[in-house]
């Protein structure tokens, strides 16, 4: 569109008369020069799908029939199982978008095929649960591949580093697993978006259920991974459980990647608590849970895993996980009363032969909701895509139920499932580890917009 206009302006500059006066020569010369200058400015600054200036990789990243997205997930390290599963969720969503699958259109109703008619192509890199490695991979994609979206995380430290990069590069970043309050709190970014539950809303969603099931006068001891995720989940869990009468009697900080938790567990066993709250995630959660069982802690204390690792039950078994409470982003039996969740679970099983875990579910949903935002914007111009996300009048049916994005901090407002481990005898099949014992309301578990000091950065 704009190219045609530019051409017509250019040709008007060449319309000169043979019989020239000095004045008309000067005028038309100025016109020629001006006419030559105008298109050069326009071609630099304005792009193919609307009259927008160049921002981030726009328009360079959307010149062809494909659009590139970069997926960096941990494929090595303590979170590698979740990272590999995220990749499966992303690839399912991308395959559905490119095929114009009717199931993903229920989440992104404007989708026809691809995103804004362009085929989505992607690459996957191992971020090693290391913020620097993730930033390097994403920087390479933004520079070399003109990525229009970057995504992937299992660690909040990685998610926060990536959203800061996204803000600098004006390229949307979708956090996948990130439980820290900081991701959409004090470190929130205009170009960062998170759909999964986080410390505050998961604690607020489960605290009343825990108080009902385990009692109100409990003494709790915590095992806490020593970084932003662990600290904020600890803060939020103590805040909401203490408000209901629980007392916090201990906090054991353990570094990420610890394999032998014996010394922490001895302190916990000696703490006279009656509930152990384990915030560890990934392989660390599997290790600490298994060892807590061996130390006899799980036989004498109730066990809560407030931000539950997607594969924890697979890794330690139903024997240990029975009666354990916690929050997950998604549990596959939510498909029983939600058609969109059922579509997702069926499609996932069709493609990979397994029931999905929430690492794949979060990746799938983030990709579908991104496609929806771009389609609603009707342009790839990054600030317009961000504004489409921020349009709170739009709600979508998702695998979680009805959800919308919050403009003030870019957190998805959605119901949160609280789960409880089933007894092995009650399991209907090998994947039937949990029952969903409560679904929180969406708005009521959210913090006030200014609660964690989120200040989104500029659009351009």
């Amino acid at each position: 569109m704009s190219n045609k206009n530019d051409d017509s302006r250019m040709s008007s500059g060449h319309e000169t008369d043979a019989a020239l006066s000095r004045r008309s020569f000067m005028k038309s010369s100025a016109g020629v020069v001006g006419g030559l200058m105008v298109p050069s400015i326009f071609s630099l600054a304005y792009a193919a799908d609307g009259d927008h200036p160049a921002v981030g990789n726009y328009p360079a990243g959307v010149q062809g029939d494909t659009v590139f997205v970069g997926i960096s997930v941990p494929l090595t390290g303590p979170y590698s199982t979740e990272g590999a599963d995220e990749q499966r969720g992303y690839e399912l969503a991308i395959a559905q978008l490119n095929a114009g699958d009717s199931r993903i259109k229920k989440i992104s109703p404007n989708t026809k095929q691809g995103v804004l008619g362009k085929k989505v192509v992607h690459e996957v890199a191992d971020n090693e649960t290391d913020p620097n490695t993730a930033v390097q991979a994403n920087t390479r994609w933004i520079r070399d591949k003109k990525a229009m979206m970057i995504t992937g995380s299992v660690s909040s430290a990685v998610a926060i580093a990536c959203e800061k990069l996204a803000q600098r590069e004006k390229t949307p970043y979708l956090a996948c697993i990130s439980g820290s309050n900081d991701t959409t709190g004090k470190d929130c970014q205009r170009y960062g978006f998170r759909s999964c539950p986080f410390a505050y809303n998961s604690a607020k969603a489960q605290a009343p259920i825990l108080a009902d099931a385990l009692g109100k006068d409990r003494k709790a001891v915590y095992l806490v991974p020593d970084y932003t995720y662990g600290h904020t989940v600890y803060d939020s869990m103590t805040e909401f459980t203490e408000a209901l009468g629980w007392k916090t009697v201990g906090k054991q900080l353990a570094p990420l990647g610890t394999s032998d938790f014996s010394s922490y567990l001895l302190n916990i066993a000696n703490s006279d608590a009656d509930v152990m709250v384990n915030i560890a995630f990934g392989a660390d959660a599997a290790n600490s849970t298994k060892q807590a069982k061996q130390f006899g802690i799980l036989d004498k204390m109730a066990y809560v895993v407030p931000y539950m690792s997607p594969f924890l039950a697979d890794e330690v078994g139903a024997d240990i996980m029975q009666d354990v409470y916690g929050v997950q982003d998604f549990w596959w039996t939510m498909a029983d009363d939600n058609q969109i969740a059922k579509d997702f679970v069926d499609a996932f099983e069709e493609k990979y032969g397994d029931k999905p875990r929430w690492s794949a579910a979060a990746a799938y949903m983030q990709t579908a909701l991104w496609a929806d935002a771009v389609e609603r914007a009707g342009t790839w111009y990054p600030p317009a895509v961000v504004k489409a996300y921020e349009d709170e009048s739009v709600t979508r049916d998702t695998i979680y139920g009805e959800a919308h994005w919050r403009a003030c901090d870019h957190q998805l407002v959605r119901p949160i499932p609280v789960v409880k481990g089933k007894k092995p005898a009650d399991m209907r099949n090998k994947d039937d580890f949990f029952e969903v014992v409560g679904m929180s309301g969406a708005e009521e578990v959210m913090p006030a917009c200014d609660h964690f000091g989120c200040e989104l950065g500029p659009y351009t």
């Binding site: 494929l75 090595t76 390290g77 590999a84 054991q252 990647g257 394999s259 014996s262 392989a283 061996q294």
Partner: protein, 291 residues
């Protein structure tokens, strides 16, 4: 202030943790001291041993078979690595050795990941080790108490091999002066192979003993590799008694610090290493000038 019972509990836990670090480090230090090769694949070999033990245990329900299988596979793996790759690196600079062993470690981790996936597996504790023991001052998993005894016996056996056999004599002589041993007409090539196999056997056994305690996954050897390097530096390069004492010191530092401030336990370990390096660079039991 922690209670006396917790203090003794942590002291005991330090002993249990330390003995394991000692066993893993013993394999590392034998190879390092004799062959001069810093084996960065050691952690990955530990991981392979744990996978073999887990797989055998699930298939046969026998812990003894699991431990034997882990040891056997590791000895064979060690010999293949030594004959296939390491022997060509004895005369090359240390950085080449580090790179090649690091590379072997990466390959082992990725091969296991391809076969078994990244997910953690849980090796059951054998029946005779399940449950907890109440020792009055502490309640402790029975298996860990028994593992302490098993490791003590294994370390004693290793000690006897190193200090009471001809192979041990050659190994210890090799640690002191490799060239002289060769000049005395001893088949150094075969001895080197035996030493690498012995180090691999130690790590294979450690993997089998540790597998029921921690989650078995491709990365499980990484943290242990770093900690066993610290143990070797504290104890003295190439010193078997150094590995044992260094392991126990490291175990106690980790657990006792946890009792006061869990966040500093690893920091204290590295601080202890730094102090040893400043005051006694050759390590507690190391000999000055040994390479």
């Amino acid at each position: 202030m922690p209670s006396p019972s917790l203090f003794f509990a942590q002291l005991f836990n330090g002993l249990a943790l330390g003995s394991l670090l000692a066993l893993v480090s013993a394999g590392l230090t034998i190879i390092l001291g004799t062959l001069g090769v810093l084996n960065f694949a050691h952690g990955a070999m530990f991981m392979v041993a744990a996978y073999v033990a887990w797989w055998t245990m699930v298939a046969t329900q026998s812990y003894v078979l699991a431990a034997l299988a882990a040891c056997a596979v590791l000895v064979v793996l060690g010999m293949i690595i030594e004959r296939g790759i390491i022997q060509f690196y004895y005369s090359r600079p240390p950085e080449d050795q580090i790179l090649v062993t690091f590379g072997i470690g990466v390959v082992l981790v990725e091969v296991i990941r391809v076969i078994f996936g990244g997910i953690s597996h849980s090796m059951p504790v054998p029946d005779w080790g399940s449950g907890i023991v109440n020792m009055g001052f502490l309640i402790y998993p029975k298996y860990r108490v028994l593992a302490l005894g098993i490791i003590a016996v294994a370390l004693l056996a290793l000690y006897l091999v190193l200090y009471r056999t001809r192979l041990g004599l050659i190994v210890r002589a090799g640690i002191e002066d490799q060239r002289m041993v060769g000049l005395l007409g001893i088949n150094v090539k075969r001895t080197f192979l035996a030493v690498f196999a012995l180090g691999s056997l130690a790590v294979g056994f450690a993997g089998a003993v540790y597998a029921p305690i921690i989650a078995v996954n491709p990365e499980m050897g990484e943290q242990l590799l770093v900690q066993s390097f610290v143990v070797v530096v504290i104890g003295g390069l190439g010193s078997f008694p150094g590995a044992v004492i260094g392991g126990l010191i490291a175990g106690e530092i980790l657990t006792l610090t946890t009792m006061f401030n869990p966040a500093y336990s690893h920091v204290m370990l590295y601080l202890a290493m730094a102090v040893v390096l400043v005051l006694r660079p050759q390590g507690l039991f190391g000999v000055e000038g040994r390479e």
